[in-house]
């Protein structure tokens, strides 16, 4: 399923996925974004997926659940997932649900991409 608010750039096994939408609340958006990210994980073994959510202001628990599904898909491909640009209130939601242990977080995509280039899987 295509996702019209997701911009994907691929650098070998490092995939930068920028979410260009402020509200990740409606089921259709959540489903299309989740499936697009999972497709990236399925396509690239040992993927290093960097999800840039700088523009995201709101998300629902359903979206958080979908990100867990993305994490699972990356794990199957022996990959890893980082979420970057998360606003403090949204980061708090991950912490409340203990999901901060599941993902790597960073302020911006650049630093994570550099780290992943230095330490490929």
């Amino acid at each position: 399923m295509s996702c019209d608010f997701l911009m994907v750039q691929r650098y070998d096994k490092i995939v930068l996925a920028e979410v260009k939408k402020e509200r990740l609340l409606d089921p259709a958006s959540i489903t299309s974004l989740g499936e697009a990210l999972i497709a990236e994980c399925d396509r690239t073994a040992k993927i290093s997926l960097v999800i840039d959510v700088t523009e995201v202001g709101y998300l629902s628990s359903a979206m958080i659940g979908k990100l867990v599904a993305v994490h699972k898909a990356a794990k199957v491909s022996k990959g890893r997932v980082a979420i970057v640009g998360l606003k403090p209130a949204l980061l708090q939601m991950f912490k409340v649900t203990q999901l901060d242990k599941l993902f790597q977080f960073a302020a911006d995509a650049q630093s994570v991409i550099l780290e992943y280039k230095r330490k490929p899987l």
Partner: protein, 582 residues
């Protein structure tokens, strides 16, 4: 022929001076040089050699020799060798007339030996520590009885001084060796984990003791991807420095291999190949690598190691049998991983080296044994990892009865934590009441909408704007408000009203002096608490649903469902109201 009184006095003074000087010299090389020089002077010899006895090799070796390179003789061979073997002096007036004299040395050096005076250096306990051999008296005469007496007096003092200097040198060597061993111990200790790691879902207790200053046991905790933890316990054949060096090598190889992110089985197979290339035929290492995942699953690979124990709260204790040969035996050995069925809260995984069950002490030398280990684990398992570790250490120490252990001992006890400690998401009580909501402040805003999910955004926008314009919430609350209303509206429309657009959701807004209240009511049958996923479950960390209630509880001061679950009551302290002082 006895010397005159003046000569006698001179020689006596010389012997006393030399004895004093020798008594104060602690450096062996300088002492030996002083002895040779003194002997040459006192007996007026042309040359003197000093041999020391090497008891281990049964040799006599020149330590100081005037005009000659090192000479090495078997004890009992030649003149000096005979003196060393018998402890009896030999005085040869004409060397070439004596069959015991070996002319080879003269032939090779061109020196002509005429007379020889050879005396043993005997210490306090009557042991010959060396031999003094003087050659060719300067006046051309053979050495006489007086020379023997003077030299004997000198040799008595010299032997004691040499014995002392040797003891000091040995003590210094021992001290240096101990310093180096201590340094090696410090280096090895720095390679062992200072304390067990803190890792989500697991509690680890460990204990390690070497029987020598350095040990051949290896224990390591290496965090890996996704919050997993690798726990390694290894045991090198033998102990001491050689075992410690092998342990350090294995650790370096293993840590480098784990960086590659391979599976435990691949990692151990590679480690074996690397170690096999480096190890001598009689060296090997056993190892077990257990990879613990946050969800309680665990896989392990064993290379000929003591089978780890798994104790379960159900009362069973299982052994995880070995899956491969010890490391370093065959370069083409391959290793398979075994899976441990998911450990439940309170279950224990116990890794150890054979020094634990094999601990024994005289007089019976009965080994402590695996049965005792299992029994101790079972007895204390309910108290957790640290209690089991402490109990095993106490029991093994008691079994040793103060004797020195003959092998290194390592113990690692891993406890699966109760679920609430795995994912500590405290769950405030969620009340689902049959009753109507309590008497509440007057409604300031109320509206109903059909159960159409496409209207959700518009509804949320309106409610949030109502709250914002009244100053009851701030812009910073927006993110959480959207999450909460989204959550409740989805429940109301899709679950309460089952997505039927003919049924409505009604939202009402109220406030008292301290808090705002939003109620969202649907026309459905409500729901039971069992329909709400328990977020405190360990497994919920990787579930894709079930976080909504917990997230709402994080933001709201009150979340209650009335009318059997068909009316949600959301309340929070007003942003424009002062917080009550504590």
């Amino acid at each position: 022929m006895q010397p005159d009184a003046h000569r006698l006095a001179q020689d006596l003074k010389a012997v006393m001076d030399i004895s004093r000087a020798m008594g104060s010299e602690r450096n062996l090389d300088r002492l030996l040089g002083l002895i040779v020089k003194s002997v040459t002077q006192v007996v007026r010899a042309d040359r003197t050699s000093l041999f020391l006895v090497d008891r281990e090799k049964q040799h006599l070796v020149t330590r100081v020799s005037q005009g000659a390179d090192e000479i090495r003789l078997p004890l009992g061979s030649g003149i000096a060798g005979s003196v060393a073997a018998t402890g009896t002096a030999i005085n040869i007036p004409h060397a070439y007339a004596d069959v015991r004299f070996n002319r080879d040395h003269d032939r090779s050096t061109g020196y002509i030996t005429r007379s020889i005076l050879c005396l043993p250096l005997t210490n306090y306990s009557g042991e010959v520590v060396g031999v003094i051999q003087a050659l060719n008296k300067l006046d051309g005469e053979p050495f006489n009885a007086y020379d023997e007496q003077v030299l004997a007096a000198l040799c008595g003092s010299a032997a004691v001084a040499i014995d002392n200097a040797l003891l000091i040198a040995r003590d210094r060597d021992r001290q240096r060796m101990e310093n180096e061993l201590e340094l090696a111990r410090q280096i090895q200790l720095s390679l062992l984990p200072a304390k067990p790691p803190e890792v989500v879902g697991w509690r680890v207790a460990s204990w390690c003791r070497s029987c020598d200053q350095t040990g051949g046991d290896y224990v390591d905790f290496i965090p890996c991807a996704d919050g997993q933890l690798d726990v390694v316990v290894g045991d090198v054949s033998g102990h001491g420095i050689a075992a410690a060096l092998l342990m350090s090598t294995a650790r370096a190889f293993l840590r480098a291999l784990l960086e590659r992110g391979d599976s435990p089985a691949t990692t151990i197979t590679s480690l074996n190949r690397l170690l096999e290339a480096d190890l001598s035929d009689d060296s090997f290492m056993t190892m077990v690598l257990a990879r613990l995942a946050q969800d309680g699953s665990c896989c392990f690979v064993s290379a000929g190691h003591e089978p780890p124990l798994v104790w379960r709260r159900s009362g069973t204790t299982d052994e995880l049998t070995s899956s491969g040969l010890p490391l370093g035996m065959l370069d083409d050995s391959t290793y398979d991983a075994g899976m441990i069925p998911v450990l439940a809260a309170g279950d224990l995984l116990v890794l150890f080296t054979d020094g634990i069950p094999d601990a024994h002490a005289p007089p019976d030398n009965q080994m402590w044994g695996l049965d005792h280990l299992r029994a101790t684990v079972t007895e204390h398992a309910a108290q957790g990892a640290q209690a089991v570790c402490d109990a095993v250490v106490a029991a093994v120490t008691a079994a040793l009865r103060g004797a020195h252990s003959h092998d290194d001992m390592t113990l690692v006890v891993i406890e699966r934590l109760p679920e609430r400690e795995v994912a500590p998401m405290p769950k405030p009580p969620l009340t689902i009441a049959i009753a109507e909501p309590p008497a509440s402040p007057p409604v300031v805003f109320e509206r109903s909408w059909p159960s159409r999910i496409d209207l959700k955004q518009e509804i949320i926008d309106q409610v949030v704007e109502q709250l914002l314009t009244r100053g009851w919430v701030t812009e910073d609350d927006r993110t959480w408000l959207y999450l909460c209303f989204d959550e409740v509206l989805v429940n109301a429309m899709l679950h309460g009203n089952e997505g039927d657009p003919r049924l409505e959701v009604t939202i009402a807004l109220r406030a008292d002096e301290q808090r705002w209240i939003v109620t969202i009511a649907d026309q459905g049958e409500g729901f039971s608490e069992t329909a709400v996923p328990d977020q405190a479950q360990a497994e919920s960390l990787v579930l894709e649903h079930g976080r909504g209630i917990r997230l709402m509880q994080e933001f709201l001061d009150e979340l209650t469902y009335y009318r059997g679950g068909s009316l949600a009551w959301l309340a929070r302290h007003r942003a424009d109201a002062p917080r009550p002082s504590l």
